[in-house]
């Protein structure tokens, strides 16, 4: 059916050998942790790298998603957004990419401490999921820049 | 200045002739009239005099130029027009067609300007479609009275 392991053919591996992640926050750290243990790419802590992914900002919002018949919140929708830019060979190839993720959290006013703990795990999980999506986006625009370059 | 009109008037020109019958003299080409601080340059000038000795003149030029020193200040009055009438009796100077009068930096343009030499008041009118233009430049304020 045409599926092959990613990376076995050069086209689909990450198109850079050295990478640097700029920016603070848990998402930036997750990107660094993942790439740090990624065999075929060298993570550069500081100094220049072939590709730089700059985390511009992350936002988290918690909105009432549904209410029960006694007018109490029964569900929140947790939205996490991350904006990042990508430079390749010190030329900007992606000015402002955004990744958005959702999680629904059922709510129970009687167990607020445990629900807050669950909320924290959901947010941390989104900050891990965002790593693959950011690398996918960065990889695609770098590949495109390489194919356009002479 | 005020006293100019009592001063003798002399006229120079390339040629002047006196018409006894009409009691007037007509001068043409490079006519220069001087009377006290007032000087008039014109191409053609007609001078008449009434029984009381008041002089009247009218003339043309391309343009007629008129200059006179003002009483109260060191500034000069200058004027130009295509034609002019001078009435010594009433002390009126009338300038016609593309006329303008300038005193220090204030200028009045118009088709027909009447300048009262006694009151230094001038009236400017424009032909239909024409316009009168006045420019007033405020004087440097002399030291104002100390507050």
């Amino acid at each position: 059916c045409g599926f092959h392991l990613r990376g076995t053919d050069p086209a689909s591996a990450l198109p850079f050998t050295t990478v640097r992640i700029d920016g603070e926050g848990l998402a930036a750290r997750n990107l660094r942790d993942y790439l740090g243990t990624y065999k075929s790419v060298k993570l550069v802590k500081s100094g220049n790298a072939e590709t730089v992914i700059r985390v511009l900002g992350e936002q988290y919002s918690k909105d009432v998603f549904s209410v029960n018949t006694s007018g109490r919140v029964s569900e929140y929708r947790l939205t996490y957004r991350l904006q990042f830019a990508t430079d390749h060979k010190s030329k900007n190839v992606l000015e402002r990419g955004e990744v958005e993720l959702y999680r629904n959290l059922s709510w129970n006013d009687n167990a607020i401490l445990s629900k807050e703990a669950e909320e924290a795990t959901l947010v941390r999980d989104m900050q891990r999921d965002v790593v693959q999506l950011v690398l996918r986006r960065a990889g695609a625009v770098v590949k495109k820049a390489q194919s356009n370059a002479p | 200045e005020q006293g100019d009109r009592e001063k003798p008037m002399n006229i120079q020109a390339d040629n002047c002739n006196y018409e006894q019958k009409a009691q007037r003299s007509v001068c043409t080409h490079n006519v220069v009239v001087t009377q006290g601080t007032m000087t008039i340059y014109a191409d053609r000038l007609v001078i008449t005099q009434d029984a009381d000795g008041n002089q009247f003149a009218h003339g043309e030029g391309k343009p007629v130029r008129f200059k006179q020193r003002l009483d109260k200040s060191t500034d000069w009055l200058e004027a130009e027009s295509q034609r002019f009438n001078y009435d010594g009796k009433k002390g009126f100077l009338q300038l016609f067609d593309k006329a303008w009068v300038r005193k220090s930096q204030d200028v009045v343009h118009g088709d027909h300007i009447t300048y009262d030499l006694n009151t230094e008041l001038y009236q400017a009118k424009s032909k239909p479609g024409g316009r009168v233009n006045i420019t007033i430049v405020p004087k440097k304020k002399e030291a104002k009275a100390a507050p």
């Binding site: 599926f3 092959h4 392991l5 990376g7 689909s12 591996a13 990450l14 942790d33 740090g36 243990t37 990624y38 909105d63 009432v64 549904s66 209410v67 029960n68 006694s70 007018g71 109490r72 919140v73 029964s74 959702y102 999680r103 059922s106 129970n108 006013d109 009687n110 167990a111 607020i112 401490l113 445990s114 703990a117 669950e118 795990t121 999980d125 996918r136 986006r137 960065a138 990889g139 695609a140 625009v141 495109k144 | 220090s104 930096q105 204030d106 118009g110 008041l121 001038y122 009236q123 400017a124 424009s126 316009r131 009168v132 233009n133 006045i134 420019t135 007033i136 430049v137 405020p138 004087k139």
Partner: protein
């Protein structure tokens, strides 16, 4: 004074003129007087040079920098711009303010005082509203307008009188009245709110919002906000002598966030209300009125590359009412938490987290709990997949205060081992004329945690978590630390994603998965343990799709194989094709919480300035509308009208119905936060149809 700019010359043009040098000039017939950018035209003009005074008459038009004033008689000192104009009309370029009056006084450059006049910001020819005033002061240097005792006329009828009104002329952050709003509410009766904004300084401001309620009386509220380089905060207080309950009711909120230094942060979040029904009575917004626990916490956070942690004092005011009983949560006074990733070896991911908390509760067992959870993982990441073995030890100790006996001490120590592994398969795909990349990502996650007796331990912060892929791929199904499930289980899941090849944007993701239990799970939240538990979890399916930039859909399903029943099914769709156009649809069935509801909301332009908006959140199981909102907005360019009616549930038997009317006169009242923010809360993607006109 030396270096004074030479005064500009004055030019007078007319059909006729008479002048005396140095004294005056009088012109008649189509007079045009100009000085720099000022131009005055009239039938006649008289200019006296000494005092720089210009009089003009019968039909005067004055023009400067786009401001156009007309009148019957002008008498003005030109340079100082002092004087008056009779029977004036005015049209200001800046702020589009125009109008007419009995008299206009020039009070210096760009300052006008307009007597017995009326003003509007509508374009000429559109006389929809006028602000009448006995005195209207327009100061275009300070960009501030003030009006004294007059009335607002809307479409010919006076709608409200005012003693004094001030507003900004260039819509910058200027002190002034915000748009007043009128409303009707089934609990509070007629409501009139006239917020006043005070721009105290570039980095702090305040808003006072008196709010009159016909059935309860006058509530006065105030909000003070401050913002600085490394701290920001808001203080809000409201109070009313409530006629119905005949007592004073207040609410206070104080939030402060500060970065003490790059690593240390402080945050305070203190909220308090005088009684439990405060929000359901006064909360205008559903999200506010449905709040049951108000936090009172102070947190000191420390964060740095390797170590993070916080020290927190946290209590809650619980708004428990007869119709809505709510359990009071434990106070955590204090709570100390830390987590760190010390790097011993680059290929070894070590992590240690721990917490020490003093839990207190008036009628539940209280005590000290401390836990630590060091762990090591060996993440092996390749482009084709990953393998991550992880081992750790979770140790917890309790020091519980017994009312009658000595303190009871319990400890619990258990190893936790997990193996996470996954593969990434890909293939190119051509759909239509787009190149896509489809992935196929199988993942297996095994967890082993031995059984430990925990039914004698208190429940401080543990609870049931929703079945989600986050939970399926975590070690402990219970949130918090009081219960750690015994586990010998594996989670199997497959994810397939569709990416656009040239930009890597994910267009579709589908994940399906389930957890298989190799042993019986005995640990529960209650004191009785499970004797036998299911051998497999429910199936879980999630779908996320973003077809085009403006149409996205999410679907989540939880299916129980044993009794082949649908536990949860949740579909949400959002369509945002453009400005002011949004449509949200949601249908959800949840057998666990026994709810079934449909929720539709949207905003749509109806053409020539009209916008409709609405929300209908209907609980099919209880056949009862949880929230209904309908509204129309009309944007006429120089004014906007918003009408909204909302009904939402405040308890099993009780609902609150409220109507809002908000007339925003362009330029007159700044657009501040107003009760209609409820629309923004209720309709995701709602965009304000009347942003203040840009000058």
């Amino acid at each position: 004074n030396p270096g004074e700019k030479p005064e500009p010359p004055t030019f007078i043009q007319s059909d006729e003129a008479s002048a005396r040098e140095g004294e005056f000039a009088e012109a008649r017939g189509n007079v045009v007087v100009t000085r720099e950018k000022l131009k005055v035209e009239g039938d006649w003009a008289h200019y006296t040079i000494q005092d720089d005074r210009l009089r003009a008459g019968d039909k005067v038009t004055m023009n400067k920098d786009g401001d156009v004033l007309t009148g019957t008689k002008l008498d003005m000192l030109v340079e100082p711009r002092k004087g008056d104009l009779l029977d004036p009309t005015f049209q200001m370029a800046k702020g589009a303010a125009r109008g007419d009056a009995v008299k206009l006084l020039f009070e210096g450059p760009d300052r006008y005082a307009i007597k017995q006049g009326r003003m509007t910001t509508c374009a000429p020819g559109n006389n929809d509203w006028y602000l009448h005033s006995s005195t209207l002061d327009l100061d275009y240097n300070a960009n501030r307008g003030q009006a004294w005792n007059g009335w607002v006329e809307f479409k010919g009828t006076p709608i409200f009188y005012y003693p004094w009104l001030d507003f900004s002329l260039d819509h910058s952050r200027k002190s002034g009245f915000l748009a007043p709003s009128l409303g009707m509410n089934s609990k509070n009766g007629l409501q009139v709110q006239t917020p006043y904004y005070l721009n105290l300084a570039p980095n702090y401001d305040a808003t006072i919002y008196p709010r009159y309620m016909s059935r309860r009386g006058m509530m006065v509220g105030g909000e003070f906000r401050y913002l600085d380089l490394d701290y920001t905060g808001v203080f809000r207080a409201e109070g009313i002598q409530d006629r119905i309950d005949d007592k004073s009711r207040t609410s206070v909120l104080f939030q402060h966030a500060q970065k003490i230094n790059p690593n240390l942060g402080l945050s305070l979040n203190i909220q308090k209300v005088s009684d439990n029904n405060y929000f359901s009575d006064f909360g205008e917004r559903l999200s506010v009125s449905s709040q049951s626990n108000l936090p009172r916490e102070g947190t000191l956070t420390y964060s740095q590359e390797t170590w993070n942690g916080f020290m927190r004092w946290q209590r809650y005011q619980t708004l428990s009412t007869l119709t809505n009983p709510v359990d009071k949560p434990y106070d955590r006074m204090p709570q100390f938490y830390f987590t760190g990733q010390p790097q011993i070896k680059p290929w070894l991911a070590t992590n240690i987290s721990g917490e020490l908390t003093d839990f207190n509760h008036p009628d539940k067992i209280s005590g000290l709990r401390s836990w630590a959870y060091p762990s090591m993982a060996l993440p092996y990441n390749e482009s084709w997949g990953f393998i991550t073995p992880k081992v750790g030890v979770h140790a917890t100790s309790y020091n519980l205060h017994q009312t009658n006996a000595a303190n009871a001490n319990y400890t619990r120590t258990l190893p936790i081992a997990s193996l996470d592994s996954g593969l990434f398969f890909e293939r190119e795909l051509k759909i239509g004329n787009g190149n896509f990349l489809q992935t196929f990502e199988p993942r297996a996650y095994y967890v082993y945690i031995p059984y430990r007796k925990q039914s004698n331990l208190p429940i401080f912060d543990s609870g049931e978590t929703d079945l989600s892929f986050t939970q399926l791929f975590s070690e402990n199904q219970y949130s918090g630390q009081d219960r750690i499930n015994d586990a010998n289980q594996v989670t199997l899941a497959v994810t397939s994603r569709l990416f656009e090849s040239d930009n890597g944007i994910e267009r579709l993701n589908v994940t399906v998965g389930q957890r298989l239990y190799f042993a019986n799970q005995r640990v529960t939240l209650t004191t009785t343990e499970n004797t036998e538990s299911p051998s497999r979890s429910d199936w879980l399916l999630t779908v996320g799709a973003r077809f085009w930039k403006d149409l996205s859909a999410n679907y989540g399903m939880q299916y129980n194989q044993a009794d082949s029943s649908l536990r949860r099914s949740d579909l949400t769709m959002t369509w945002r094709p453009g400005d002011y156009r949004t449509l949200n649809l949601r249908y959800s069935i949840n057998r666990i919480s026994d709810t079934r509801s449909a929720d539709i909301s949207g905003q749509w332009p109806m053409g020539n300035g009209w916008y409709a908006l609405g929300r209908y959140n209907y609980s099919i199981k209880d056949s009862r509308a949880l929230e209904t909102l309908g509204g129309v907005e009309y944007n006429a360019g120089c004014w906007a009208l918003r009408l909204a009616a909302q009904r939402y549930v405040t308890s099993v038997t009780d609902t609150t119905t409220s109507f809002f009317a908000l007339l925003q006169l362009g330029g007159i009242a700044g657009i501040g936060s107003n009760p209609l923010d409820t629309i923004r809360q209720s309709i995701p993607g709602y965009s304000n149809t009347y942003a203040p006109p840009r000058f």
